[in-house]
Symmetry: C2
Subunit: 598 residues, 2 copies
């Protein structure tokens, strides 16, 4: 059976030593009181919850899955899920970073980020139930009427109710412009909603009394395509004016998908048979409102893979130290044993370090990005809010796609460390691989992320956002350019920064003549950008580690951090060489293939 | 539901147009009569069997899995598996390339190769039941006594009985030197065998009356480690001197593993409680006998991933043409539709072409290698036999690791083409990913393959085998060096050949000083070597295609082949740039990590 130890030390390192989160938060009136001790205390408690309450349900939840009673349309979640959720609500965890105006604790997003990393390590399928609520919460905060806020936000904040995002339909996922669900205005100002949705995560369950569905649909007079989509809130049970539950709304779970992974989460087919909903935001502007949910969800999906990368790494490391098999190529290491532990083998170390570097880089990026989110929402200076928002927008597709692709590489590498035992369910490793696999797909496939990054976030503003990030890198290069000890970390990112600028201009120019050039380069481009960001963060982490060591700090944590950073730059970062070459190979070899793909 | 069309045309292209198999076989007395028509007829029938008999059982077999009756130790295979096996036996398929001396049809291995590619596409889990028999057959042909051959080979040839390889024990997989199963000599010349085995594929089932286990065990006086292992044949039912079945041998299935994939195959825990066996080959020389099975199995595992790559590709291609979603970046393509089919998107094409190129490269390599196997076994000239054997030995770890890793990339890419539908069981795509995943592990993990390649097959003979392969490449370069049209295919392999020579010398030198350098470089090295081999074969395929087009042949097959080859060299082959860089980054960043991996 796998084990899980919350990586509290590494979180604290990133939060306090690398990013000086407490100082940064002092500038935000909403969080000026949130000191390092508070953050640390919450994270430690959160880690206990994840390790003790939801982690033990991970394998059993995968084995049991969810079951639908077709007569009542009710879904039973795996044994223990409901109780764990009750404990979660009891502990006040849903409210952690919600607005005190709705009963929230008002802690910064960076704290919630750490909570969710650990929940995802412990049990991604379970975590999606409370996780989806956050998207619904954000959409209603941003676009809901006062009435809607009053009705739904306190219950979503307390966790008494959960939320969903009902977007996908059988014939449209990526292309929501094609959706057909109808919303007909009623004389009382409400809407009568009819249609079919699929792939609705946490779409039905037995954990709460009510489920608040946020549903994309079309008004009768709506323009075609994505400009004719509106967002509605459709509760499972209608809510009376006193807040108590009224009649059942005809929004039903008609089926559960049988999936590769996340078996513990109910992926529902939802049939809406004239359910009553209310409009969120303006008519035909649903896609904008939806993007509020979606951006939160994309950062959340990256966090899922970060969690799985960490837990897979921890278990592979333990196994590699325990399992004896063969002798080291460079001479016997464990003389008292029949064979050496497999951690003596270079490639086993490579697999472990790949996962470790992707976990630590991912953690640094997620926290870095969430701190920017806190600034975007709460900084008193408008320019800081705007700049932070721009960087979050740039980094969101990287968080989503780069961290989930890395999660795929890492969970597979960790499974491989187990040899045949990795393929067997009882060790839990293959589940990490299966659960991670959806993260590369949902909330916009990783190809869609790459088009968002290159097409919209980079070329869309002539590289202005990328330049903003580049300035952070340039500042670090300037600071440390003469520090010989930092050269091994600084030179690669300085070099890649120069190449990336040229490379971006080049693609922009080619894309102007032929937009397929953008589509052909985008996936490679995103991985290059991902390494640029990881490289920057690893250099900053190395900077802190070197500083501590120079100051006489003997905590082996800092030596470990340097070793991981060195490995990262030597074995993972050089992937950029091939990626730029293949991106430059252009679109012709892809598009001039009608005979091959006949 | 997925579909499968046997890729007969592409097989025939490789067999006849690229490799001139029929001409090559004329030189082998055993196969001199095997003409192209015979080969084609057999392959077409084999394709029908795979598509019509075993493919329809693939998803149902995955869902149902195998069940063990703990009281009787009998295993029930999924519905339809037993009938399909009966049809397989009835059709004479087990005997295809077996020796006529034991009732075989005596066809060359290349034909059996094509049969098994298609069976693997259709249903890997099912195919492992007859597949494992081949290893047992080979071991007994090479090392069995006359008595053993007479008793077992006709039944394995006819398929009336199947075989297994009982190697792994709970505490040892890679490191068979640690195994503990005991074999005690009995006065009658037999051995009494006691021990526990795990991960025994096709280890128990209801398809045949008897199962012939080949078991590794230790004699009482055996030296420690891998030099003290002997091989035994242990039938499930003892065989009387008249060939009829005698009493049940106490070699039992004690449990079935719950696995990520290949659910239809019984992965058995085997308990041996004083079973009667007979020695195969010499005492303490079991590992050599075992390697006869193992090498056949390694080529077979590559073939499993080739099969899955092909079937995944076919289904992703069909979906990409059918599914409409978004408009092409370069302008509307399907004006009459609400959206364009997703095949218009460059990255969708990239995913499809990746799978296609890995399928076609893999097929060419498997057939190339199997033809060498035919020559190794049957060529009248000893030098040709020896040279062929040497090349097979060099290529075996590449076939196993490169094709299975490519299968991982390809099946995941094809699943990704389906978006959310790829994660759902009903489309069958996620099963291809799960089934493929074991191929990277069993019969020697891909890391073990890389050490076998670099340590034993390349550095072990100072690069002599690699030079032999290099001569084939040099010959092609010489032939086509002045052909402008071939430049795009020839230049990359000529360049890589030069680099690979330097690179190999470099690693050899570093490895001499520090053997961990070999372990650190091996996995990257194998992928570079894999691209060198694929590059050679794609260049040869392009050569034929260009020749046909120049001669006025208008079959679009040749244009398709050139497009795939171009894609391969532009988008996949350049991976070698990064691989050589990361391999050169050496072992220090891996081994000097005790703090990081504490």
């Amino acid at each position: 059976m796998p084990t899980y130890n919350p990586p509290v030390r590494d979180m604290q390192f990133v939060l306090h030593e690398v990013l000086n989160v407490a100082d940064e938060l002092k500038a935000l009136p909403a969080h000026a009181e949130t000191d390092a001790d508070t953050i640390n205390a919450v994270i430690e408690e959160a880690g206990k919850f994840a390790a003790e309450v939801t982690f033990p349900l991970n394998i059993s939840g995968d084995e049991e899955g969810c079951t639908l009673d077709k007569a009542t349309h009710e879904v039973k979640t795996p044994k223990g899920f409901k109780d764990a959720y009750a404990k979660y609500v009891e502990g006040g965890w849903p409210a952690l970073s919600c607005d005190p105006a709705f009963g929230g604790q008002g802690l910064p997003f960076v704290v919630n980020q750490c909570l969710f990393e650990m929940l995802n390590s412990a049990n991604q399928a379970w975590t999606m139930y409370p996780g989806l609520s956050h998207g619904a919460y954000e959409a209603l905060v941003a676009h809901g009427t006062e009435e809607q806020k009053k009705t739904y936000l306190p219950k979503l904040t307390s966790g008494e109710w959960t939320g969903t995002m009902c977007l996908t339909e059988p014939h449209c996922g990526t292309d929501l412009g094609l959706l057909r669900t109808k919303a007909e205005p009623q004389p009382d100002g409400s809407y009568r909603i009819t249609g079919s949705k699929i792939f609705i995560s946490a779409g039905e369950h037995d954990m709460t009394d009510n489920i608040i569905h946020l549903v994309l649909a079309r008004l009768p007079d709506a323009p075609k395509g994505s400009k004719g989509i509106s967002l509605f809130v459709v509760p499972k049970y209608k809510v009376k004016s006193d807040g108590s539950l009224g009649e059942r709304n005809p929004i039903f779970c008609a089926g559960l998908e049988h999936k590769m992974g996340i078996h513990g989460n109910a992926t529902a087919q939802i049939v809406i048979e004239g359910a009553t909903g209310s409009l969120v935001g303006e008519p035909n502007k649903g896609l904008q409102a939806m993007f509020v949910m979606m951006n939160a969800a994309r950062l959340g999906v990256g966090n899922q893979s970060l969690g799985l990368t960490e837990v897979a790494y921890q278990n592979a490391l333990a196994y590699a130290k325990d399992r004896i098999q063969m002798r080291s190529l460079s001479g016997v290491k464990a003389k008292d044993k029949e064979a050496d532990p497999i951690i003596v083998h270079p490639d086993v170390r490579k697999m472990l370090l790949t996962a470790k570097a992707y976990a630590e880089g991912g953690r640094a990026l997620q926290i870095f990005c969430t701190l920017l989110l806190d600034k975007e929402h709460n900084h008193p200076d408008e320019k800081v809010r705007k700049d932070s928002g721009e960087l979050v927008a740039l980094l969101t597709p990287i968080v989503k796609a780069f961290i989930t692709d890395n999660g795929h590489i890492a969970t597979n590498a960790c499974m491989q460390v187990f040899g045949g035992h990795g393929f067997i369910k009882e060790w839990g490793m293959e589940q990490f691989v299966r659960d991670n696999r959806i993260n590369m797909i949902y909330e916009g496939t990783n190809t869609i992320q790459s088009l968002d990054l290159l097409g919209r976030k980079v070329l869309g503003n002539n590289g202005a956002s990328l330049k903003k990030f580049g300035k952070l890198v340039a500042k670090l290069v300037e600071e440390e350019g003469v520090n010989e000890k930092m050269a091994e970390f600084i030179n690669p990112i300085a070099g890649l920064g120069d190449q990336l600028t040229k490379f971006t201009t080049e693609i922009g120019f080619k894309g102007f003549q032929n937009p397929d050039e953008v589509g052909a380069a985008a996936v490679d481009y995103l991985r290059v950008a991902g390494h640029f960001v990881f490289g920057y963060l690893f250099a900053r982490m190395a900077q802190v580690a070197l500083r501590e060591i120079a100051a006489g700090n003997t905590d082996p944590f800092y030596v470990a951090k340097l070793q991981t950073a060195r490995f990262y730059f030597a074995k993972l970062f050089p992937e950029t060489a091939t990626l730029m070459r293949t991106a430059r190979a252009g679109s012709k070899v892809l598009m001039d293939t009608d005979a091959a793909l006949a």
